[in-house]
Symmetry: C2
Amino acid sequence: MKGRILRDARKIFGEYGFHGTTTRMIAQKVGIDISTLYYHWGEKGDLYEAVVQDIFEDLRSKLVEIEHIIHGKPLADRLTIALDIMTDYLFENPEISNLTLYRYFTKTRHESVLEVKVPETMGNIAYSMGLVNDKKALPVDAKMKMLAMMNSIHNFISGEGFFKVLLDVDHEDYVRVVKETLGFVLIPAFTQATKAQDSSE
Amino acid sequence: MKGRILRDARKIFGEYGFHGTTTRMIAQKVGIDISTLYYHWGEKGDLYEAVVQDIFEDLRSKLVEIEHIIHGKPLADRLTIALDIMTDYLFENPEISNLTLYRYFTKTRHESVLEVKVPETMGNIAYSMGLVNDKKALPVDAKMKMLAMMNSIHNFISGEGFFKVLLDVDHEDYVRVVKETLGFVLIPAFTQATKAQDSSE
DNA sequence: GAATGTTTCCAGCGCTTGATGGAAACGCTT
DNA sequence: AAGCGTTTCCATCAAGCGCTGGAAACATTC
């Protein structure tokens, strides 16, 4: 039950944000009494934090999974495949993108645990993309490139409803142009950078 | 007074979002009685919509201004200058980025006026970036590239508080790496695409 | 069958929210 | 001085919020 609440809370928080979500909405979605919700999770803020933690873990393990798949392939292929898998995954779980972006402007609370793991995860992707040789000591500019990459995807996922009417396309077409656009923007940047790096060595 | 309310409401909405903002917070920020606020603007939702409209107009006129400045210059320069000016502008007015991103997942209301003007504005930038020859008939993929560009900037503006601690840099350094990263990601994509287009003609 | 943990139902608490009302005062023009 | 638009103060409203309490029913385990 505790897990069921977490799963549904994630959807609701992802759709309406922290302030836009009420504990009653979550209880209704799960189909339980509000008392049951408080019995398991206590404060609304604690549940929210658990949700954030949860989506981060999912995202993290997905990145590890992708890293295994693309291992050893040429850079351009690694990027294309990674973008493809990640985009599909986030389209299936848009709350992840929503909540990630929400966290950018929502007033921060304590959130101590995350700050440690984020750099580590970023280090793994950066290494996988051939940006750095050392997974541990990640320079600022490499981190920024990782962020730019992830954010580009998140935006198109979270903005689907908004952009679809703007572009006048259906879901299927939207997914396609998102992938094309991400490829268009991201692949040249990273391949070109590596080429320049190679020729200088 | 009506304008003063709009200006302050913009800041508050930009910082806390629609649900996180209360009419009393706005009144306090302006330094007026809550009755005065309702005297001028009526419903909270109407004020919010006026704010959205307002930031869109600002963004629009800024884009026109940039277009004039970069007119006639080589593509790579156009991009660099445009990114530089736009980034500075948004760092000074982060509510614009915040509210723009907020609109991506916040449940849509009517908002009829915007949908007409957005494509037009995008058409101008796309033309300015050499992506299309006709400002009017803008293909979907060109729109997507414009969105990818704008969103990349907005993210780094809205996420400043979050990313700064992650990267452990101060504001000045952050602004610098943001510009570097945007240049790194966006310039190769657009210059390379144009080169390919030129050689095929 | 006693004990324990879980869930429901319901009632309610204190507080904040968006929004309205009226009376009075202010500044400004005519 | 009268009129008008604006602003303040204060009181208030219904509704919703996060959250708690107790009593009873259920299932599981020992």
